[in-house]
């Protein structure tokens, strides 16, 4: 994780609290364009809070995040379109079908899309007209991923992307993430399945109680060696 280039992502001493508890404390790392990071940790370790700060959904209480040389929070209106954030919430409208959902988001972001092709890419039937409320959890995750495939991101943040997906879906998702990121986007994947994410990532960090307790190359990850 060298990331000295101004063009990458620089996280310096980022901290965020809820009430009197620091959910993330003094997180610091840097990633150059094209670098990919696996983020692991138990439930409540601060992974989601850190990703939400990186996505500009939360303002850090301390520290700074810089993307392409600019403070991310101060210039968030400019950078948000180039951040693809795949979160626990699917960001879907239950009363609309899959195609309508994608078209709505495309219009809002002024993207030109082929909704059918996007749905095929994520393994959903393109001609299904039932509303999203009839979808299973796995289908909703696939549709939610189709939404972020519209973007041309500089920073890709995936929070538990493999949850609710079958093994075939996971394999498909790994390929799609590769396509989405290309060679230039920074990728951060928060996951409980390091063995699945390992093929995507170059580096790893492990969090406990809001702090980074380990960092290194992805295949040296303690979870992969059986240690916790």
């Amino acid at each position: 994780m060298q990331g000295d280039s101004e063009a990458g992502l620089h996280v310096a001493d980022v901290s965020r609290r809820f009430g009197r508890r620091w959910a993330v404390a003094r997180a610091s790392f840097s990633l150059a364009p094209g670098e990919r990071l696996m983020l692991t940790g138990a439930n409540g370790s601060g992974k989601t809070t850190l990703l939400r700060c990186l996505a500009t959904a939360l303002k850090p209480d301390h520290g700074e995040i810089r993307l392409a040389g600019e403070c991310l929070w101060t210039h968030r209106d400019r950078h948000r379109a180039s951040i693809a954030y795949f979160s626990h919430a699917p960001r879907l409208y239950d009363d609309l079908n899959a195609t309508d959902n994608l078209k709505v988001w495309a219009r809002l972001g002024e993207y030109s899309i082929d909704a059918h092709s996007l749905l095929e890419q994520v393994g959903l039937p393109p001609d299904r007209t039932e509303p999203v409320r009839t979808f299973s959890a796995g289908m909703r995750r696939r549709l939610a991923f189709a939404r972020i495939l519209m973007q041309k991101p500089r920073l890709v943040l995936l929070d538990e992307p493999f949850s609710a997906l079958d093994p075939e879906g996971r394999t498909q998702l790994v390929k799609l993430v590769d396509t989405l990121c290309g060679d230039t986007a920074v990728l951060i994947v928060a996951t409980h399945l390091p063995r699945t994410a390992i093929s995507l990532c170059h580096h790893g960090i492990h969090m406990e109680a809001g702090q980074i307790t380990w960092r290194g190359a992805h295949d040296d990850h303690p979870l992969l060696k059986g240690a916790t």
């Binding site: 959904a57 919430a89 409208y93 709505v104 909703r140």
Partner: protein, 226 residues
């Protein structure tokens, strides 16, 4: 221009959602209709009294139904995290507000246009002239409810006790608009002898200008979650 395009995209999204689930608008209509009937029955179906209270009852019925509609308008954004998705997409907060407020205005207008003939039948009233002023009162009355209602709906949907809080915040605020719309409609339904309907329409327009601009300016503080 991007702002206008986003406003239209948000309005179109909301209207599409309403179109796909017509049960919601029907629910609002029947709720308001039930109120109209209850008031008529509670007054013993008096042929003297009912025409005098037709205008005010129509608007109070719409007002009570509107809080339900405004709650629903934000519930669809919160149930699957779409609101945060809109902010991060990004959709400009002011565009989000104006798009939703425009959609809410049209939803309320559809309910009101369906209620009007029913009210005229039940309360034995009619509008015989100044149709343009009447339509203006209907339109600007709905938009007067929609603007502050959309802003406060965004707040109360994420607070405790939202079913009580939205009416508590909204009702005192929209009293001038309610009064203008009700009195204007009542005047037209009784022949507008004093030519006051147009004055009430202007009051309604002033209310709209103030609240649409103020709510649009303040919305970004409501929707960003820091």
């Amino acid at each position: 221009m991007r702002f206008l395009r986003q406003v239209l995209a948000v309005a179109r999204k909301d209207l599409l959602i309403e179109w796909r689930s017509p049960a919601r608008i029907s629910g609002l209509l029947f709720f308001a209709l039930a109120l109209l009937l209850l008031v008529a029955y509670a007054n013993g179906g008096s042929t003297f009294l009912l025409p005098q209270i037709a205008g005010s009852t129509l608007w109070i019925g719409l007002l009570l139904a509107s809080t339900r509609g405004l709650d629903q308008s934000w519930a669809v954004e919160l149930e699957r995290g779409a609101l945060e998705g809109l902010v991060l997409w990004p959709v400009m907060p002011a565009a989000l507000f104006y798009g939703k407020a425009i959609a809410n205005t049209f939803v309320l207008l559809i309910v009101l246009l369906a209620l009007c003939p029913l009210t005229m039948a039940i309360y034995d009233v009619g509008v015989k002239e100044d149709y343009l002023i009447f339509l203006g009162l209907l339109f600007f009355g709905c938009s007067a409810l929609a603007a502050p209602g959309t802003l406060y709906g965004a707040i109360t949907a994420r607070a405790r006790g939202s079913s009580v809080l939205l009416p508590l915040l909204m009702f005192p605020l929209i009293v001038p608009a309610l009064m203008a719309a009700a009195k204007g409609c009542s005047a037209l339904m009784s022949g507008d002898i004093f030519n006051e309907a147009e004055i009430w329409l202007w009051l309604l327009i002033v209310f709209n200008v103030v609240h649409w601009s103020l709510s649009g300016l303040l919305f970004r503080y409501v929707v960003e979650d820091t």
